[in-house]
């Protein structure tokens, strides 16, 4: 294709939002050979044969970066494949996703890293960065070969969505990882306190007789995580977090100058545990939907920066798995395609954050935490760009997802905001409505 061979593109009529340069302005953006060239180029600087894209006043921002999505391949292709997942990411405005190590076999060998990277290149969806296992076989006993994994291209280490139950191993890994300057991600949860839990432990679980996931299970793990990060000076990211206790602890250690980061899932910003009254497995998500006061605290913590980033929490599970009763049905949801709109609907539209902050939390911060390219439109970087229609309203219908998973706690909800174009390395890989484009 001519377009992808040359990949010059002029995006016109843009509302350019780039928190990395503190920008929110009307502008046009020139992409040359797949990289950002210049904001507001002169007519002479625009090549004659350059493709043009009219953004129609919509938001043009660095593409979203996800800190952790399960892509399920190899081993659970009925839930998701690297192709379906990376295209679901594009439809959600993501130009990069970090894929979790929780495949079968898990990503604890250089060969497994290589497999994912090759599949992702072929899929031509969003860029896929690999999170390597923190422990061999994700068993929490021995450190995985972190050095070899990093050579193979792993950008971070984690056993997420499983937490790391072994304190000594986590401490050693934080120390060891300093020589690669790569981060460790922990999904904080003490397994003994969470065992058998199906939903947030609170008034609703009490009445429904459903085994609860107590907030202490997360609070204790966060306390351990931040203390070990402080002790080792290792790079640690905790997330997704979902409790007031976790927020409180992260706020306190950050105020002491300790360099930890945290993320939250969109479902914890909008829905509460009351939804479980329907006993519908689409609300069995992880972290669990908590009570309103936690939702409120998380929103505020995201707004004030205590929580650095939003991560999709994409844990796709096939339709037949989610059809079982609430106990047997696995935790999980497809969220790559709703993360942006959830953020806009429940944070931007409610004026809890402005657009610059929204893009910071969805793109710039995750890229910085993971140490991957993206999150900025500075000249010279690969042109990973999302164009967002901030006014578009749409009703979530899981059956229309590009993900193989149709289950979403937001199914049936009307949300505001949608990615209309997702551009990876200057190539438009996703368009919402082709008829609206005016390519020269």
């Amino acid at each position: 294709m001519n377009e992808s061979a040359k990949r010059d593109l002029l995006i016109e009529n843009a509302r350019l939002v780039d928190p990395s340069q503190d920008l929110d302005l009307s502008a046009r953006l020139l992409v040359i050979d797949g990289c950002v060239s210049k904001i507001n180029p002169t007519d002479q600087e625009v090549p004659a044969a350059c493709a043009r894209l009219d953004a129609m006043g919509r938001i043009v921002a660095p593409g979203l970066v996800d800190l952790g999505a399960e892509l399920r391949e190899p081993g659970s292709e009925e839930d998701e494949t690297i192709e379906s997942g990376s295209h679901a990411a594009l439809a959600g405005g993501f130009t990069s996703v970090l894929c979790c190590s929780s495949t079968r076999p898990c990503i604890d060998s250089p060969g497994a890293v290589e497999f994912v990277r090759q599949k992702a290149t072929k899929a031509r969806g969003a860029r896929v960065h690999v999170i390597g296992c923190l422990s061999k076989g994700r068993e929490g006993e021995q450190m995985a070969e972190l050095g070899l994994l990093s050579v193979a291209g792993a950008v971070a280490f984690s056993d997420a969505p499983k937490s790391m139950p072994n304190d000594a191993l986590l401490k050693r890994a934080l120390e060891y990882c300093r020589m690669f300057n790569l981060p460790i991600f922990d999904r904080p949860e003490v397994p003994e306190l969470a065992e058998g839990g199906m939903m947030h432990d609170g008034q609703v679980s009490l009445v429904l007789g459903l085994k609860g996931l107590p907030t202490e299970a997360e609070d204790l793990a966060v306390a351990r995580d931040v203390r070990l990060a402080e002790a080792t000076a290792g790079r640690l990211h905790v997330g997704p977090v979902s409790t007031m206790g976790a927020v409180d602890m992260i706020r306190r250690v950050k105020s002491r100058g300790i360099d930890v980061t945290a993320s939250v899932c969109p479902h914890n910003l909008c829905l509460s545990d009351i939804q479980l009254r329907s006993f519908d497995s689409k609300y069995k998500v992880h972290p669990p939907l908590r009570s309103d006061k936690h939702v409120e605290t998380l929103r505020n913590a995201l707004a004030d920066g205590t929580i650095d980033a939003i991560q999709s929490g994409h844990m796709p599970r096939s339709r037949e798995k989610k059809m079982d009763d609430l106990d047997l049905s696995p935790f999980g949801e497809a969220s790559l395609e709703t993360t942006l709109a959830t953020t806009i609907t429940y944070m931007v539209a409610k004026q809890l954050i402005d657009w610059k902050t929204a893009i910071e939390r969805l793109s710039t911060a995750p890229a910085r935490i993971a140490g991957v390219p993206g999150g900025t439109l500075k000249p010279g970087v690969p042109a990973d760009i999302v164009i967002i229609d901030p006014e578009a309203t749409w009703t979530v219908d899981g059956t229309r997802f590009r993900s193989n998973c149709i289950s979403s706690p937001l199914d049936g909800h009307t949300l505001q905001g949608k990615a209309t174009h997702t551009i990876v390395g200057g190539e438009i890989r996703y368009r919402l409505q082709p008829e609206l484009e005016h390519l020269a």
């Binding site: 008034q203 007789g209 459903l210 006993f279 009763d325």
Partner: protein, 331 residues
């Protein structure tokens, strides 16, 4: 053979429900309606002993994914006393063992032409899910620790028979509240009818959050005993507990077992109830279980009465809904 007498009973105008899923969602009036109908059917069947042909030609499916003897037999007898047929299904040796989901199993049973599916399952909410998937009536015969509405109703019917009115009575539910569907049904049923409910047991089995919902929580049986009109002694559900919530059965019995010594502190006319099966020597001693205040066996008989009432009411509402659907033009 059936005596096949046409029974003298009128269908209550205020009843519209096709499913009986829990007591929390019922109004006080609806609960009273079931109890009234149960009382009337108990009389018409000479104390649940004779057959009448109220539901002849209909079939009730017992779909039990958890072991049960008394509840399943009680539902079967209730259906048969009203002239209905029953079909038994249990998860042992069924297609569930072959990997079928419970919804598919239930749909298969429904397709055999049943009027009611009576279901028991270890997971809360399964009857609620079935009620959305099936066109027939769904009765919850126990969904994990969540609900067991006919058990709650039979307990309340038994109290009503002895005391006339539930309003103003102090009823203590004692024991393993955390794992008890009987407790979660009694709590709503009794409080909706105006009883003062005390939830009593060790803090590991009785969440302090019940007070947020307006119930009295107590941890020492001896403290509340003199105030109680009714004690409902719930079984310790060892099979649902992941970790022991108290150090030993011996210690539990010392703190909570209803025995002869404790009976001295109780009101003269206290009613002693237990949903069964009872662990003699754990929550209740034989002298109390078999003593003059015990109404445990009356509860069993009343179980058939409330289940007859539930089957008849749900079926009637179902027929009415079908008739309405046929008479009103489809859009």
């Amino acid at each position: 053979m059936s005596t096949a007498v046409q029974p003298d009973i009128e269908f209550p105008k205020n009843w519209h429900r096709r499913h009986l899923l829990d007591l929390e969602s019922l109004s006080p009036e609806e609960i009273s309606t079931i109890l009234d109908v149960a009382q009337r059917l108990k009389e018409l069947t000479q104390g649940c002993r004779q057959k009448i042909s109220l539901l002849a030609g209909k079939t009730c499916a017992n779909l039990f994914f958890e072991n049960s003897t008394r509840t399943r037999n009680s539902f079967s007898l209730a259906a048969k006393r009203l002239g209905a047929d029953t079909v038994e299904f249990s998860s042992v040796g069924s297609s569930v063992a072959k990997g079928e989901t419970f919804v598919d199993t239930a749909k298969t049973i429904e397709a055999m032409g049943v009027e009611w599916v009576v279901t028991r399952h270890g997971t809360p909410g399964t009857p609620h899910l079935l009620s959305r998937e099936l066109n027939c009536c769904v009765l919850n015969a126990g969904d994990g620790p969540h609900g067991h509405p006919t058990q709650g109703l039979l307990d309340i019917l038994t109290i009503r028979q002895h005391r006339g009115d539930i309003k103003g009575l102090t009823v203590a539910l004692v024991g393993d509240i955390a794992h008890s569907r009987t407790a979660r049904s009694n709590i709503w049923g009794l409080s909706k009818l105006g009883a003062h409910v005390i939830i009593c047991g060790p803090p590991t089995l009785v969440s302090p959050r019940w007070t947020e919902l307006g119930f009295e929580v107590a941890h020492h049986l001896d403290d509340i005993l003199p105030r109680c009109d009714v004690l409902n002694l719930l079984r310790i559900q060892f099979e649902r507990q992941r970790a022991r919530p108290f150090p030993s059965v011996h210690e539990y019995a010392a703190l909570y077992a209803m025995n002869g010594v404790r009976m001295q502190k109780a009101k003269d006319d206290i009613l002693i109830m237990a949903p069964g099966p009872i662990n003699r020597g754990v929550e209740i001693t034989p002298e109390v279980a078999d003593g003059p205040h015990s109404v445990i066996l009356e509860q069993v008989t009343n179980g058939i009465a409330v289940r007859m009432a539930a089957l008849w009411l749900l079926s009637g509402a179902n027929e009415r809904a079908k008739a309405n659907a046929e008479s009103s033009p489809a859009d």
